[in-house]
């Protein structure tokens, strides 16, 4: 599939992307660049991938028409229920896709980074299923705030390595995973989002594109038209956004909205909004937008949601921003918490704090009555239940 927003033959999205890696990783990256496309697009892969998604993950995930929200926002609102995937988020799609590639390349050990622990759990799960050794890097800060996911990974047989460098969150977990890969070039690095050196961003987007493939089919069945007016997704590195925008990128009638995590606000230092607050530079092997100072030192990100707590963004999105194909909004910690909690009480759905950022943007967009709006619920919020609980206690004491 050709698309002007996909990676070009040199590994770039316009001026973004590329492969900025030390020589020690040259062969590893070359191997992926050479093999991924043919493999991912082969009938053999697609058949197997779709079969596992159906029988193991439980796809397709529902596209749920939400009556109450539609009434409240005076439009037609749907939730794409990625939270109903086995292991609780869209991350499992990518973990399955890439581990099939790893198998094809005859790799025995998988390494991965994780922030919220969702990618780590997905990877550990697939490794158990496919008899692969699994090493997960996770920042100490995240280990503390997403501990149930650590227990899940361990029980699945993964080795969880705490990362104590930097501010001990997702960025540092990626650093440590890359260092481990340099020292163990025989392993497969299963990156969790549309970030990293070429070909990772495009490969992860290709694999996650199943999300928008399903949305098209589901909308067509309900309305006779494949195309919504809006698709709204939260964005950390960009994998759930890439997957849900993928098949709509070349149709300008579909408004694509990516919602960044603003933490305490985009005017503060405690933020993770790389598009709103960042500048052009290199992070984790690709040219993109990142939070950095004038010397190019990376500034630690902050967000209440560990999956969005990352100072960069996938290069595909840096380009989509510059080319104005995707509109970027942001939600603060507070807004996300409030809207996440709203969904819990209104619909009985506990969304991941990451996904709650997408929900919080609904208030900021003026929809038409006849618009079809798809909000991606990228994951479930069981992992965040303590944070919701704290928020609830605090707010009840305000109210009463």
């Amino acid at each position: 599939m050709k698309n002007k927003f996909f990676v070009d033959d040199n590994g770039y999205y316009g001026e973004f992307g590329g492969s900025f890696i030390p020589e020690m990783l040259y062969n590893n990256i070359k191997e992926l660049q050479k093999n991924y496309k043919n493999f991912i697009r082969s009938v053999q892969f697609q058949t197997l991938y779709k079969k596992i998604l159906k029988n193991y993950v439980g796809r397709p995930t529902p596209l749920f028409f939400c009556k109450k929200y539609s009434k409240k926002y005076k439009t037609k609102i749907f939730f794409k229920r990625e939270d109903l995937n086995y292991t609780g988020s869209h991350k499992i799609n990518n973990a399955i896709g890439q581990s099939l590639l790893a198998k094809q390349l005859n790799k025995k050990t998988i390494i991965a980074e994780t922030g919220a622990g969702q990618h780590g759990v997905a990877t550990a799960t697939v490794c158990a299923l496919m008899d692969l050794k699994c090493v997960i890097f996770m920042g100490e800060t995240d280990i503390n705030r997403q501990y149930t996911n650590v227990l899940r990974m361990k029980s699945l047989g993964a080795k969880v390595i705490p990362v104590c460098s930097g501010d001990k969150t997702l960025k540092d977990a990626v650093n440590e995973a890359i260092r481990y890969w340099i020292n163990h070039p025989e392993s497969y690095y299963l990156i969790g989002s549309t970030v990293g050196p070429h070909p990772y961003p495009q490969m992860v987007a290709d694999i996650q594109s199943v999300i928008s493939e399903e949305i098209k089919i589901q909308l067509k069945e309900m309305y006779g038209s494949c195309y919504p007016n809006y698709v709204i997704a939260c964005i950390g590195g960009g994998s759930n956004a890439a997957g849900s925008f993928y098949h709509f990128l070349d149709n300008d009638s579909v408004n694509l909205i990516a919602v960044e995590a603003a933490g305490h606000g985009i005017k503060t230092k405690k933020t993770a909004a790389s598009i709103h607050c960042g500048s052009k530079g290199i992070l984790h092997g690709s040219m993109t937008f990142l939070l950095q100072n004038e010397d190019g030192q990376v500034i630690p990100a902050y967000s209440i949601s560990p999956g969005l707590d990352y100072p960069g963004i996938g290069p595909m999105f840096a380009n989509l921003f510059i080319k104005k194909r995707v509109k970027f909004l942001y939600s603060t910690d507070k807004e996300a918490l409030r809207e996440g909690y709203e969904l819990i009480r209104s619909e009985g759905i506990i969304p991941a704090l990451e996904s709650a950022h997408a929900l919080a943007s609904l208030k900021k967009i003026s929809f038409k009555k006849e618009d079809t709006v798809v909000v991606i619920l990228s994951g479930r919020g069981d992992k965040d239940i303590n944070v919701y609980e704290k928020f609830l206690t605090k707010n009840l004491s305000y109210d009463e």
Binding site: G18, S19, F20, I21, P22, E23, M24, Y26, N27, S165, G166, K171, N175, I178, R179, I182, N183, P185, S279, G281, I282, L283, H284, G285, Q292, E294, D295, G296, Q297, V298
Partner: protein
């Protein structure tokens, strides 16, 4: 004439190159370390610019980077520290950093500052060679700065030859596929077959071995296969912030004496 090329014209064996992180252990250690090193039998000095995310580095250099940044080291300060020594500098200086540092500072601005402060070469491990050729090679020529490329035991022969033609000053042989400072089996099979392979290739550029050199024995070994060696983590670990000069003298003595 570039000082690095000059050096290899004068001397082509047992070249000792020392790497350290600028601004470590103290912010003003940079000049003290350079001054001390150049009065010792050290032929080349590689100054690491501290970075928040040094992907190719192990814990020792990560730690020195972190402390240096905490000490307040930044690029303008580093250039002014090196510039202070310009007239007294006898040994060529190489700076090592990551591409984002060069990019964000402004490439031209960065190279101009290198030139003005008396730097002779750069090592930027994550700068792709093709990008260098297309975008920077002429600029490096203009400022007569060397760009030094790395090869590893996994690099195939044709790429080694290619990189040996692009690199300027010397070719950096990374002794094992690893981050810096890892304890490598320096005399292992993989290392020796890599060094032997390199020795047989028609490479006219001088070669220095780095990663894993930590004492006299490993340095001597590297001299058997290349024009010399580069020591980093082991040197940094030996620095005593209460008596910097003495600790440096003692360390260099333990390597070449």
């Amino acid at each position: 004439m570039n000082k690095i090329n000059d050096l290899f014209k004068r001397k082509n064996s047992r070249i000792l190159c020392i790497y350290f992180t600028a601004g470590f252990p103290k912010i003003n250690s940079t000049t003290k370390i350079i001054n001390t090193l150049q009065n010792l039998p050290v032929d080349l000095i590689e100054v690491g610019i501290p970075y928040s995310d040094p992907l190719a580095d192990g814990t020792v250099i990560q730690n020195s980077n972190k402390i240096s940044l905490k000490n307040g080291m930044n690029l303008s300060l580093l250039f002014s520290q090196i510039k202070e020594l310009k007239n007294k500098m006898t040994v060529p200086i190489i700076v090592m950093g990551y591409y984002n540092q060069l990019y964000k500072f402004g490439e031209k601005n960065f190279l101009e500052n290198c030139k003005k402060s008396g730097v002779s070469g750069l090592i930027i491990p994550d700068l792709p060679v093709n990008l260098f050729i297309n975008k920077y090679q002429n600029l490096f020529k203009k400022y007569s700065l060397s760009m030094i490329f790395l090869v590893t035991p996994q690099t195939d022969s044709s790429r080694i030859l290619f990189l040996s033609q692009i690199t300027n000053g010397f070719l950096y042989l990374v002794s094992s596929n690893s981050t810096t400072g890892k304890i490598v089996d320096f005399f292992g099979k993989e290392q020796i077959s890599f060094f032997e392979k390199i020795k047989k290739l028609p490479i006219s550029t001088p070669k220095l071995i780095g990663f894993g050199i930590k004492d006299k024995e490993t340095f001597n070994f590297s001299c058997q296969y290349a024009n010399g060696g580069i020591i980093g983590s082991s040197f940094i670990q030996s620095l005593n912030k209460n008596n910097l000069e003495e600790s440096i003298k003692k360390y260099i003595k333990s390597i070449v004496d």
